[in-house]
Symmetry: C2
Subunit: 169 residues, 2 copies
């Protein structure tokens, strides 16, 4: 069963979360991150893992579920202790839902610069360029610039996307 993907530019009318609200919230709380972790059975020995995450205290768990439901992708997981996160790692969801959304509704903070880098890496991965030596080196450079600008505060990145996010979700 493949659920129909809504146009993310028009979240369902029943949602409390408007596109503008989501942009404001992500400008504040969102983190666009490119993880590069050791993975000995992969080419070059490393895995590239782009993700959008929002971490909240447990009291706002419902809001994370609303984000997931409005954006129609991602998973909600415990981050650590009483912190939970909404996280999107699946490349198809990033390409078809997350990136078009922020193209249509641009971020207003300097996080927009992180998004531009994030967008570039995701597009390169979609074209398979992370599998070439030159492409991987370029991604690693972009990632190091992003991660320097914005320290990591999100969930453990050792899980693979397929373990925690349904591709049809």
């Amino acid at each position: 069963m493949t659920p129909q993907r809504p146009d993310v530019g028009n979240p369902s009318r029943s949602s409390r979360l408007s596109p503008e609200w989501i942009v404001g919230f992500i400008d504040g709380e969102g983190c666009f991150h490119i993880g590069i972790s050791k993975h000995t059975d992969l080419r070059f020995g490393y895995q590239v893992l782009p993700e959008l995450t929002v971490v909240q205290h447990q009291r706002d768990l419902d809001l994370l579920y609303e984000l997931r439901s409005t954006m129609n992708c991602g998973v909600v997981r415990r981050n650590h202790g009483d912190r939970f996160c909404w996280r999107v790692r699946n490349l198809k969801n990033l390409t078809e839902l997350i990136i078009p959304f922020f193209d249509k509704y641009p971020l207003k903070s300097k996080k927009s610069l992180e998004f531009i880098r994030f967008r570039k890496v995701v597009m390169m991965m979609q074209e398979g360029r992370h599998l070439s030596k030159e492409g991987f080196a370029e991604i690693a450079k972009i990632a190091s610039e992003m991660n320097r600008a914005q320290p990591r505060t999100t969930a453990d990145s050792r899980e693979s996307p397929s373990q925690d996010e349904n591709s049809g979700n």
Copy 2:
């Protein structure tokens, strides 16, 4: 010269910041806080200091100025190091601009519960109830509940509102 106050429900068309974006950003980054600090020359020896603050890295200083300009109140100050804040302390601005704004455009996170307490304290102060023993005790109780739920991460609270915010601003 008294600048005309705009209807905060209708931010100027030239602003990049829509009400919905502002609500999303405040849901993420805003802090409604009731400071109670020692002040030996005041009644009961304490000063009640409600404030809304948003702290950002220096790279988003422009965004703080846009918040100030769109909401038509508050000041932008260095918080500490490379962190800056937009801060509204002036009672008239809280009563006439901030509270009506969030009454019209409700917060969607559990920060709305902080806002309800904050609103109550500001309204009590407007009625002068912080000057009675019973009123002050009630405010102190509400403040202790708020500040327990949400640790303080904002600027130094020792300044008085008149020092850092023009009443006509």
